[in-house]
């Protein structure tokens, strides 16, 4: 039995009176590629945002690498995490955003070297080496000197992936990385994500509406509904033989919208 690298233990997340995660239990094993699917508003992004420390939780505990993320141990008690603790925990995580969120005032290369230099304290030479390696991996070596607005959406998102990887996280979070892209640009981004999944070095959590892709690359697919996991399992099982009526209904809608 390996210990899960991510664990949501009875987590409640509310926005005002709206309960977005309702006593969620959720585990991810090291190296696992988990895809989260589900209707709009079911709390998929919220799960990722909590992990990236962009949203705090109200109840329960989230563990990353066995350590509480939003809490610190004080004796036997859990107290709310300090900024210092959060910064330490964040080292393990990287995130790719739906809208890319690249730094518009930095060249592609600088987008990739800024955080490694400033946050990890890498030398200029090491940061450049790392950035060039990653640019090659995502096929953008020739775009290094350009600014984000000079790139296509697909190229920007590949920079987004490379930028997150430059921090060498153990866990990568992808929140609908292709939803903002024109259809003809989706493939180039999925190709990069697939190559990462194939390496099995990273733990990956992907929120997507690309069901076909999810089926091909995921080790496990989780169907979220109303802030809970309604059903989960290996992709073949979940897609071909969903057990819950809600899952069936959802899959029918997204896979076969005209029927």
């Amino acid at each position: 039995m390996t210990e899960p690298i991510i664990k949501f233990d009875n987590v409640v997340k509310r926005f005002g009176s709206l309960t977005v995660l309702d006593h969620l239990d959720f585990e991810v094993n090291p190296g696992e590629m988990v895809t989260i699917i589900g209707p709009s508003g079911s709390g998929k992004s919220t799960v990722l945002r909590i992990l990236m420390t962009l949203e705090p939780i109200q109840e329960g505990v989230v563990y990353v690498g066995g350590e509480p993320l939003w809490h610190e141990k004080k004796g036997d008690d859990f107290v709310p995490a300090s900024e210092k603790h959060l910064r330490k925990m964040r080292e393990q995580l990287g995130m790719v955003f739906q809208q890319f969120n690249l730094f518009p005032h930095m060249t592609v290369l600088r987008n990739l070297t800024e955080a490694p230099r400033q946050v990890l304290g890498l030398s200029k030479k090491d940061a450049l080496e790392r950035a060039e390696e990653l640019l090659e991996m995502v096929g953008l070596t020739d775009q290094a000197k350009k600014y984000p607005h000079q790139l296509s959406g697909g190229q920007q998102q590949r920079v987004g992936i490379a930028r997150a990887l430059a921090m060498r996280p153990k866990i990568m979070l992808f929140d609908e990385p292709t939803s903002a892209l024109d259809p003809e640009l989706v493939g180039e981004v999925l190709k990069v994500i697939r190559s990462l999944a194939d390496q099995h070095e990273l733990t990956m959590l992907l929120v997507t509406h690309e069901m076909h892709f999810a089926r091909q690359v995921s080790d496990r697919v989780c169907f979220f509904d109303k802030g809970r996991i309604e059903e989960q399992g290996p992709p073949e099982e979940l897609f071909t033989n969903p057990k819950k009526p809600r899952t069936r209904e959802f899959l029918k809608q997204v896979l076969d919208p005209d029927a």
Binding site: R90, F97, Q99, N101, F103, P104, H105, E114, V119, H149
Partner: protein
């Protein structure tokens, strides 16, 4: 005296005006950043100080601030036994800087707040500290936003320098008044002065445009 003879003393005055404008715009910009960032600080003391400064200097006239610094402050100093007499230049630059800094602070604050929340989230995801996010992510995007307003403030500042002639600084306005008293040739003198202020404003505006373009180069890069 013919009008060409006015040019030498008026030129001397213009040079003083230029220096006053230059230094008070520089110090004013520094104050703008300090108070504008301070107003967004999580530290309540820094925040309160910044708000206090901004409100006081925006809520009172430059003339009163100038007189207060030049005439009232020394008396206050005398009362508590410290020498707070300022030379006219210092009082003038200080009043102008403090005044423009208060307006500029609101420009800085507004521009920082206009940086998209997504950018801060990206900064957090890359584990930047708050300070790094401010200096490396938010400010470089906010500064180009500030430039048009800063350009206006700088020209405003140039025009405001005329007030310092009231504490006997020999700027362009002071010199004009001096020659006018001597020659009574108001039309010629004020026409030259008008042209000189206008010329300085044009040059200043052009300089601010160059600065604006250079801090916003990334926005206009072509593929």
């Amino acid at each position: 005296m013919t009008w060409t003879e006015y040019l030498v003393p008026l030129g001397q005055g213009a040079w003083v005006t230029i220096q006053l404008t230059f230094w008070s715009t520089i110090f004013g910009a520094l104050l703008s950043f300090a108070a504008g960032i301070g107003k967004l600080s999580r530290n309540p003391l820094i925040k309160a100080l910044s708000i206090g400064y901004i409100e006081i200097f925006r809520g009172t006239s430059l003339l009163v601030q100038l007189f207060w610094l030049y005439f009232a402050l020394p008396l206050l100093g005398q009362a508590i036994g410290i020498d707070l007499r300022l030379p006219p230049v210092a009082a003038g630059v200080l009043a102008l800087s403090l005044n423009i800094g208060a307006y500029g602070a609101e420009v800085v604050r507004g521009a920082i707040q206009s940086v998209s929340h997504d950018q801060y989230e990206a900064a957090t995801a890359l584990n930047f500290s708050d300070r790094q996010a401010l200096w490396r992510v938010a400010l470089p995007q906010a500064i180009p936003e500030m430039m048009p307003s800063f350009g206006n403030l700088a020209v405003q500042n140039l025009k405001d320098t005329a007030l310092v002639s009231l504490i006997s600084l020999q700027d362009l306005a002071f010199k004009a008044e001096q020659i006018r008293n001597f020659t009574q040739d108001s039309t010629t003198i004020f026409t030259i002065v008008l042209a000189m202020y206008f010329g300085m404003a044009l040059v200043l505006t052009a300089m601010m445009k160059v600065l604006e373009r250079s801090v916003g180069r990334w926005r206009t890069a072509r593929s």
